[in-house]
Amino acid sequence: MAFAPATALADLPDAAPVRVEVDGVPVCLVRTGDAVRAVHDVCSHQRWSLADGEIVDGAVECSLHGSTFDLDTGRPRTLPAVTPVPTYAVRVTDGRVEVDVAGPTNGAAVPAH
């Protein structure tokens, strides 16, 4: 239950996913204006980095098979993924982005591949 430093806000491009590691957990960060959202970086369908994909309408699209995951709920909007990816709490303090990977805010399990 702790926020850990992830990156600097200035290093995040707008509306493009970025992969970071927080306490050993791969996290996909997406900045929208001054807000940052975080989901687990591994697709729930197959082991692939979600940060390799694009942002489409508030969701990150996996570049391997095209499943899109809602950034607020972690739930997939399209097949082939059927289970949500964990979402994590993010806070921005003095331009520093911190993520709490201890407990996913949506209760989803970390994808096991």
Partner: protein
């Protein structure tokens, strides 16, 4: 000497062969493979299409030392024990060939079954002509191999050489039984040459002692010359601690026929590649597969047929049943080259999901460079059909018995077609045992068909 796989260098890879007094051509090949190994990285799901489904670093532990042969452990029974009259049995335990049981019929027909290192001297012409030929590229068949195969090319131990002479008709099965009793990495290697117009049955058996953690990196090269007929089986009966990388590659020449069965029931992770290069016109292969995956198991099955020559035919069929939190991957490939006119090929995969939590992935892939062919491919994954269950129960058969009958019946067509003495009986026993162990109350049926009819 402890040699961790991931730390191996050129010297470490070939040291064993040098100590064994192998001929210079063989040492040269080991050195060349060692250089490939050093220059390669372990497979990566992000880079290698064929590794996309199975994360190598999670499912395979290369931080192991090559297992040293110890005093020969007792291997469990061979499927040949179930064959009336037996057959030729070659036992490889912990990286060393421990004994060969001959059979008078095979001996009379001139069959050779012996240690590969010895064969490199005594049958140098055949071994030099064929060993490693199917694992290195340069022939345009697409066999650019990854590091797991370079490792075998460089450092194999416990090699077996099988030769069936031209025109020999051998009806007794020949079996290579690889048994793992010591933890660590094992590198069994098999070279089989089936002569022109010969007939033979070859089994590859795989077992391990209870509780042993091991990585088995196995390569089998099987050359089936003009007009030969081969029945082939690979039986994976590993214990729960074994990770198996298996490349079993057959080169099928003019008018030769191969019917094969890959039976996979044991092992923590099994990545099996039954491959067939059809290099002669009129070659025919029927690759069959059966897999039974239970909780914690991960099977990645990748049959690959390459149509190089014209008018060859192939028909792939893999059927499996899954339960618990298991995962299977069927990554079938059929490649039809530009000269392979008149090819006839079909490729099918069926997976039966018995209980919730299991997952079966299927990719029945085709790659076609020639337009005068027929090709089909398909895949289906589903649950037991409630109509079948309803039918049996309406005949007074209780639910549990009916479920057993359905699962058994699902595999019967493949087993009957494979028709492999000893293997068929063994496979049926394993299937029965798996169903007996299963929680039949957890088996889910698909009642969509029933509802549609009402």
């Amino acid at each position: 000497m402890t040699t961790i796989l991931s730390d191996l260098d050129e010297g470490g890879l070939v040291a064993r062969g040098e100590a064994g007094g192998e001929p210079s051509w063989l040492l040269d090949r080991r050195r060349a493979a060692a250089r490939r190994f050093v220059g390669q990285a372990w497979p990566d799901s992000h880079v290698d299409e064929f590794w996309r489904s199975t994360p190598f670093d999670v499912r395979f532990d290369v931080g192991r030392a090559i297992a040293e042969a110890t005093a020969a452990a007792e291997a469990p029974a061979s499927v040949l024990d179930r064959v009336e009259g037996g057959g030729v049995l070659v036992r490889v335990v912990d990286g060393a060939l421990v004994d060969v049981t001959a059979h008078p019929d095979a001996t009379a027909a001139g069959v050779v079954a012996m240690d590969l290192g010895r064969a490199a001297v005594e049958h140098a012409d055949l071994v030099e002509a064929h060993l490693g030929r199917l694992t290195t590229s340069g022939d345009g068949t697409g066999s650019d191999e990854d590091r797991t195969v370079s490792l075998s090319d460089a450092a194999w131990t416990g090699g077996v050489f099988i030769h069936v002479p031209d025109e020999a008709a051998v009806d007794v099965p020949l079996s290579v039984h690889v048994h793992v009793a010591t933890p660590g990495a094992h590198l069994p290697r098999i070279l089989a040459v089936i002569g022109r117009h010969a007939r033979a049955t070859l089994y590859l058996e795989h077992t391990s002692a209870p509780g042993v953690d091991a990585l088995v990196d196995e390569v089998a090269e099987i050359v089936v010359l003009d007009g030969a007929t081969l029945r082939l089986a690979s039986v994976q009966d590993w214990g729960d601690g074994v990770q198996h990388l298996g490349l079993q590659k057959a080169e099928v020449h003019r008018d030769a026929t191969v019917r094969s069965l890959a039976f996979t029931a044991g092992g923590a992770t099994v990545r099996l590649r039954p491959e067939f290069d059809l290099v002669g016109p009129g070659a025919e292969v029927r690759p069959l597969g059966i897999y039974l995956a239970s909780d914690g198991q991960w099977f990645d099955l990748q049959p690959f047929v390459r149509h190089i020559a014209p008018r060859a035919s192939s028909d792939v069929l893999f059927k499996g049943a899954l339960q618990g939190r298991s995962r299977t991957v069927f990554r079938g490939n059929v490649f039809v080259g530009r000269d392979a006119v008149g090819t006839a090929t079909d490729e099918n995969n069926r997976s039966l999901i018995l209980t919730e939590g299991a997952r079966a992935d299927a990719t029945p892939f085709l790659e076609i460079e020639c337009n005068d062919i027929t090709a089909g491919h398909g895949s289906a994954t589903g649950q037991i059909d409630a109509r079948h269950l309803y039918y049996l129960r309406s005949r007074g058969i209780d639910r549990d018995t009916a479920l057993r009958l359905i699962v058994r019946g699902y595999f019967t067509d493949v087993l009957e077609e494979a028709g492999l003495p000893g293997v068929t009986e063994h496979a049926l026993d394993v299937i029965e045992r798996r169903i007996a162990d299963a929680d039949l109350s957890a088996i889910q049926v698909n009642d969509l068909g029933l509802r549609e009819e009402s």
